[in-house]
């Protein structure tokens, strides 16, 4: 579904992603893990067209994303729920969700709204409330709900557990697994290594702008080097 080969990109003159390879098959949850500052968010920005590709290729469902604008990429069904949520604080919850279908799946807006409200009943209660007044957890739900409104083929979730209480983090990971079981392909970008490996099919560890270790999530969870570096075991 997504195939990245030899990707290089960064900001200005500074290279952040230095020749990264990654593949995601349909129906999978692929976890992209790594500490702060290894390039996770930069990778996501390149995938959603916010940063230009310096070299290498990104193929999404068989077509190249070279030169594609963020709007093209959304239209193709690659939806990115960014770190920090980036919801529209000055607009109501309902309007935020509606804008999720601005570029894609506009005709299915009604059905998808119902679906989002079924997944997140709390959002239905707060439909007319300004999004900026929601709690952190609710804002994260809104960001994911807004992403789902576009009927993603591949959903990138960047740090969905960031800043949430342990209970909500648990809830969030359960939800991600449920969405995946309903057929959605998910790229989960996280610092939360233990829980991510728990729900992912495949995982890759990002270090210094490259994938250092890749493999089935269960295998990575048992990898002694990884356990030392990331799990403190």
């Amino acid at each position: 579904m997504l195939e990245i080969t030899g990707l290089r990109t960064g900001y200005g003159q500074t290279e952040i992603i230095r020749g990264l390879d990654l593949a995601i098959a349909p129906g999978q949850i692929v976890a992209v893990l790594g500490a702060n500052g290894v390039g996770k968010t930069t990778l996501n920005k390149a995938l959603s067209g916010l940063l230009p590709i310096w070299s290498g290729t990104i193929q999404f469902e068989g077509s190249s994303l070279a030169g594609a604008t963020p709007a093209d990429i959304v239209a193709a069904g690659l939806i990115h729920v960014p770190e920090g949520r980036k919801i529209f604080p000055n607009m109501s919850v309902l309007e935020n969700l509606e804008l999720g279908s601005y570029r894609r799946a506009r005709l299915h807006r009604r059905t998808n709204l119902d679906r989002a409200f079924t997944i997140f009943p709390r959002l239905r209660d707060r439909a007319s409330q300004m999004a900026g007044t929601l709690s952190g957890g609710e804002q994260q739900m809104l960001a994911i709900g807004r992403g789902l409104m576009a009927e993603p083929r591949l959903l990138i979730l960047d740090e969905p557990s960031l800043g949430l209480s342990p209970l909500l983090v648990e809830e969030m990971f359960t939800l991600i697994r449920t969405l995946n079981q309903e057929g959605l392909t998910i790229m989960l970008v996280e610092q939360n290594v233990v829980q991510s490996l728990d729900i992912a099919d495949h995982a890759t560890i990002l270090e210094n702008g490259q994938c250092s270790i890749q493999g089935p999530a269960a295998e990575l969870a048992a990898n002694p080097a990884l356990r030392r570096a990331y799990l403190g075991l």
């Binding site: 959603s48 067209g49 916010l50 604008t69 963020p70 709007a71 990429i73 959304v74 239209a75 939806i79 990115h80 729920v81 960014p82 949520r85 980036k86 919801i87 529209f88 604080p89 000055n90 607009m91 309007e95 509606e98 804008l99 999720g100 601005y102 570029r103 894609r104 506009r106 807004r146 576009a150």
Partner: protein, 290 residues
């Protein structure tokens, strides 16, 4: 002293003028709220629009009010193109550059108009400007009444556009969260240009409403833009409701100032308000941020 009837008439006249001021300010505040730039070309574009209205009426013989809708569309397209192909690319994402580009544009436009039309003062021929309507004890200018009604309708349409349509919602989204909007597939450059175009369309409508009772020269826009800036600051930078209310208020202040201090000093009241707002409430009536 003045009788209550005279004061009331001055206030009503102020409201009528104020609604058209509000329309000029709406364009300015919308562009500021979304693009976060102060459009120094606003006055020159208003002048342009006023010349366009004058030309439509005097050279082509089109009724002023019938000329407004097509001119609004033309200015929508013109504003869109200006932002998309001139201001946007020339400023390279730097706000300081945008100030210079719009300032440069305003100088270029004004001088082009000066070269084409000289500095003569032009008015619409005919005596429609002197039509009055009797409303109870008051005698009100008909073109100003029409201007008031049309300006309010346009403000209402703008409000509905921003609240009810996807494009309007996208404009509000881009105003506060550019990256989030991009990730929803909203083309930020398109929304910037559309917003600038809407600002210019407001100017075209305002020009059509002003001209029946006003004159046009190549520098006439500047006077209105100074007032519009005051309204925007009074209402709160970027606030549409603030621009409307601020416009009406400033219209009344100017009219009462004219009554009490004499016509030529009427605008002094506006600038007293401007200074007071800056001193006492710099965020304006509806401004959210400091």
């Amino acid at each position: 002293m003045y009788t209550p009837a005279i004061v009331a008439e001055a206030m009503v006249n102020g409201l009528l003028t104020g609604a058209v001021y509000a329309l000029v300010a709406l364009g300015l505040t919308l562009v500021y709220g979304v693009l976060h730039i102060i459009n120094f070309a606003h006055g020159a574009l208003l002048t342009c629009a006023m010349f366009a209205v004058w030309a439509a009426s005097e050279l082509l013989g089109i009724n002023v009010y019938l000329a407004i809708p097509p001119l609004a569309l033309i200015f929508l397209a013109l504003g869109y193109a200006l932002q998309r192909f001139v201001i946007g690319p020339a400023s390279r994402g730097d706000d300081a550059n945008t100030l210079l580009v719009t300032l440069g544009l305003s100088i270029a436009i004004e001088n082009a108009l000066l070269a084409a039309f000289k500095s003569d003062t032009r008015t619409l021929s005919g005596d429609a400007a002197f039509d009055v309507v009797e409303l109870g004890p008051m005698l009100l200018s008909r073109p100003r009444l029409i201007g008031f009604a049309v300006a309010l309708v346009v403000a209402l349409l703008l409000w509905a556009l921003l609240r009810r349509t996807d494009s309007g919602k996208a404009i509000r989204a881009v105003a506060r969260e550019k990256m989030g909007a991009s990730l929803m597939g909203i083309d930020v450059r398109h929304i910037y240009a559309l917003t600038f175009g809407i600002g210019c369309a407001c100017l075209a409508v305002a020009a059509g409403l002003l001209l029946p009772t006003f004159y046009v020269t190549p520098r006439v826009g500047q006077a209105f833009v100074l007032v519009a800036f005051t309204i925007v600051v009074l209402g709160g930078m970027g606030s549409v409701a603030g621009a409307l209310l601020g416009g009406l208020l400033i219209g009344v202040v100017e009219s009462l100032g004219g009554l009490l201090l004499g016509e030529s000093l009427g605008q002094a009241g506006i600038f007293v308000i401007f200074i007071l707002v800056l001193l006492l409430r710099p965020t304006g009536l509806f401004g959210a941020r400091a």
